[in-house]
């Protein structure tokens, strides 16, 4: 961004100024960055993946980072979003936009069901119930081969062209594809930012801080949790739907619990409970994996080690640690 200042001001002051600016206009900042993002990436498909998984992680972070509920079942919402979007297009020939809508709605409904059952439990049991229910969703879709293609995955999702008023955009063109998906992610991020700044945003933080007190203050803890759960599910569903459009297939792995694990990793890597964290996490995780994979066959070991390193030394995550450092710098003055 505004690099020239750097020479005039001390790094700390510069960082602080920039940091305040970024925090104040966080949506604007992240969108501005994502606008130029493809240029930094080795290839567009990866950039699109980062958009999509960034959104997935943001949705997950709403529950994990801001409400303090660690779900191991979020793959269910990514998957349901993907599959329902795909099924609507492949089996019923729906318009992609409608299909995407269906994907989000279905993911939200899955969120209502799973959330309603899961929020009755707490701590590690919450994580395990979400895991178990998500696995059941996995097998349900695995079995419904006629609709989902089972293990083979759902194929034949095609969005050749997109009409925007008078113009038609070629969705097969990676750049176009990136910016079309960008629009949806942008909208979602704006929504999340508003949500966090809203009164309800305060409520969920209160619930995370102290359920007993939140209830004593007159807030219905269970209902608030459920509402966040569903919103989180909807966001992940949107990510899933976009992924179906992006890959033109829906792999069964998108429902697998390892996919849920990935959301946790991204969130933690970037910094849970921060607005940018999940995106940073997704970007670093996927880029790292991509690059390491091209460098060595032993990517799993390297990524695992890096991950442990972060858990041990940067528990606040990349962005989270940065936030802390800058704040300390601010207080130091």
């Amino acid at each position: 961004m505004s690099a020239p200042q750097a020479t005039s001001a001390t790094p700390t002051a510069y960082a602080r100024g920039l940091f305040d600016m970024v925090q104040r206009h966080r949506v604007a900042a992240v969108l501005l960055f994502l606008l130029v993002f493809p240029l930094l990436m080795p290839y567009h498909a990866l950039a699109v993946n980062i958009l999509i998984f960034g959104l997935f992680a943001v949705g997950f972070n709403l529950l994990f980072g801001y409400t303090g509920l660690l779900s191991f079942g979020h793959a269910a919402f990514l998957g349901v979003g993907s599959y329902l979007t795909g099924i609507a297009m492949v089996h019923f020939g729906w318009h992609w936009l409608l299909a995407l809508g269906l994907g989000v709605v279905s993911a939200s409904l899955a969120g209502v069901l799973i959330g309603y059952l899961a929020i009755r439990t707490r701590g590690i049991y919450f994580s395990m119930v979400t895991l178990a229910l998500a696995q059941i969703v996995y097998y349900a879709f695995y079995k419904a081969e006629r609709w989902t293609g089972g293990e083979n995955g759902l194929r034949g999702i095609q969005v050749p062209a997109i009409e925007v008023g008078p113009w038609t955009l070629d969705f097969l063109n990676p750049v176009t594809k990136y910016y079309v998906i960008y629009v949806f992610v942008a909208a979602a991020l704006w929504f999340v930012s508003r949500l966090l700044a809203s009164p309800f945003g305060a409520v969920i933080e209160a619930v995370r801080e102290n359920e007993q007190r939140a209830a004593a203050c007159g807030y219905d803890v269970a209902r608030s949790k459920l509402l966040v759960f569903v919103i989180s599910a909807a966001l992940c569903g949107l990510a899933g739907g976009l992924r179906a459009l992006h890959l033109s297939v829906v792999p069964i792995d998108s429902l697998h619990y390892l996919q849920s694990g990935q959301a946790v990793m991204m969130c933690l890597l970037g910094g849970m409970g921060t607005f940018f964290g999940p995106f940073v996490g997704a970007a670093v995780f996927l880029t790292l994996e991509d690059v390491v994979t091209t460098l060595t066959r032993y990517w799993m070991g390297v990524v695992g080690a890096v991950f442990m390193f972060f858990v041990l030394f940067f528990p606040a995550g990349i962005w989270g640690t940065l936030v802390q450092r800058v704040q300390r710098a601010v207080q130091a003055r």
């Binding site: 961004m1 690099a3 790094p11 700390t12 510069y14 960082a15 920039l18 940091f19 960055f33 130029v36 930094l40 990436m41 080795p42 290839y43 567009h44 498909a45 990866l46 993946n49 081969e145 293609g149 089972g150 293990e151 083979n152 995955g153 194929r155 034949g156 999702i157 095609q158 097969l172 990676p174 992924r243 890959l247 033109s248 297939v249 792999p251 069964i252 792995d253 998108s254 940018f276 940073v280 970007a283 670093v284 880029t287 790292l288 991509d290 690059v291 994979t293 091209t294 460098l295 066959r297 990517w299 799993m300 890096v306 940067f314 990349i318 640690t321 940065l322 450092r325 800058v326 710098a329």
Partner: protein
């Protein structure tokens, strides 16, 4: 976050930063002179089938080396771009997009597993890029997934299973039990056996579906034990086969029941050891031991041994070799490098790269080829590579495939 490297907290960003920075450089190395014909080669270098995949790469590189050594096409050399699918369809699709969009490959050859080949095909088909799949599946040739740009070098379950059935059922009996991995590929295998079985009056006493990738099969075995079938068919693949075979042996099923498998993988037999596979027979697209019967096999083996210090090619490895050579031959024949014209040339191709005469069926681009029936050795093996006896070779015959109509193609 373009400003971050300037901020004080540089250290936390090393990883991400390095990655972002390294990536473009790294890829520009991979980029070669514009003249080259680029073939993308997405295979699962990591994960359960990495052994097979790495052998596929070795064989494919051998094919490229030979072709380039022979002068390529009018001086145009071929370049192989290997990518890791991690045996994950999503990753496979992403990598294929990378190959097409960034590396601008002319063709894609590769895949291992039904799911990854179908997702690769979904991407290539939509972008009209020629894809030659070297992994087994019946689905990819069906009208629903097929396209002019979709070719299938590998055997398919129907053909393999059929061949094994035609060989084994008459010898070992007509009461057949199936233990099947519960996914399309497994079901296709069973269908293959049952079709061939009908002709000779074989009867299915049970078709038990087990979850894909299960580690323990003991829970399915007592029932089979009680049924006392003549033949137990293990319709699963790789490690599932090793596990189920091993455990079937432990349950003493081999007394009175012949255990057969549609596909005996060379690599998983080596990994699983002789005990697990003792006396089990099955089919394969290729076994190096057939070199004494088939000249082209001898030629291929020798080249492979020479290139890789005496190692012999595995079945899936050999497919990598053939998959590349076919496409490159078609480039020569078509005198072109665009997918459409190369596809047309491929449809006409008659070839014998490594296992006797082959050709692609017009309606669905399935490579019509021979099937090798082998039995696992447990005694008097010459060396660690000597794991199978070749019992029979069923010659290439279009009749053994499902009809074009059945595949949903209108006959052209």
């Amino acid at each position: 976050m373009s400003h971050l490297p300037q901020s004080k907290s540089r250290r936390q960003l090393i990883v991400g930063g390095a990655a972002v920075a390294a990536a473009p450089a790294l890829f520009s190395i991979a980029r070669a002179q514009p003249a080259a014909i680029k073939i993308g080669f997405p295979v699962p270098l990591t994960g359960p089938f990495s052994a097979e995949a790495q052998d596929q790469v070795r064989a494919a590189e051998l094919a490229v080396k030979e072709w380039n050594a022979a002068g390529g096409h009018k001086g145009q050399k071929c370049e192989l771009l290997v990518r890791d699918t991690k045996l994950n369809s999503g990753e496979a699709a992403t990598r294929t997009l990378e190959l097409i969009e960034k590396d601008k490959v002319n063709f894609v050859v590769g895949s291992l597993s039904a799911a990854t080949q179908l997702s690769i095909n979904a991407v290539t088909r939509e972008r009209k890029v020629l894809f030659n799949s070297i992994s087994q599946s019946d689905t990819i040739n069906e009208a629903k997934d097929w396209s002019l740009y979709t070719f299938h070098e590998a055997l398919n379950p129907h053909l393999t299973a059929g061949a094994v059935a035609r060989y084994a059922f008459p010898k070992f009996g007509k009461r057949i039990a199936y233990l099947t991995a519960d996914y399309a590929y497994g079901h296709e295998m069973v269908r293959g056996f049952q079709r061939a079985g009908q002709a000779m009056g074989a009867q299915t006493v049970a078709d038990i579906r087990h979850p894909l990738g299960a580690a323990d099969y003991s829970a399915f075995l007592p029932r089979i034990q009680a049924l006392k079938p003549d033949v137990l068919v293990l319709c699963n693949f790789g490690r599932d086969l090793v596990n189920s075979a091993k455990q079937a042996t432990d349950f003493g099923l081999k007394q009175g029941t012949k255990i057969i498998a549609p596909v005996l993988l060379y690599t998983s037999r080596v990994a699983g050891g002789p005990d697990a596979f003792e006396g089990i027979l099955g089919g394969t697209s290729y076994y190096w031991g057939m070199e004494d019967k088939i000249p082209s096999a001898k030629k291929f083996n020798d080249a492979f041994r020479k290139a890789y210090g005496g190692a012999v090619p595995s079945d899936y490895g050999a497919l990598g070799y053939a998959g590349i050579l076919s496409v490159l031959q078609a480039v020569k024949n078509a005198d072109a490098t665009d997918s459409q014209r190369v596809a047309i040339a491929l449809r006409q191709l008659k070839y014998d790269w490594y296992k006797g005469p082959q050709f692609y069926r017009k309606c669905d681009h399935q490579s019509v080829q021979s099937v090798v029936i082998v039995e696992s050795k447990s005694k008097n093996m010459k060396d660690k590579n000597d794991v199978f006896n070749v019992l029979a070779i069923e010659d290439a015959n279009e009749k053994n495939l499902r009809s074009c109509e059945e595949m949903g193609h209108k006959v052209s």
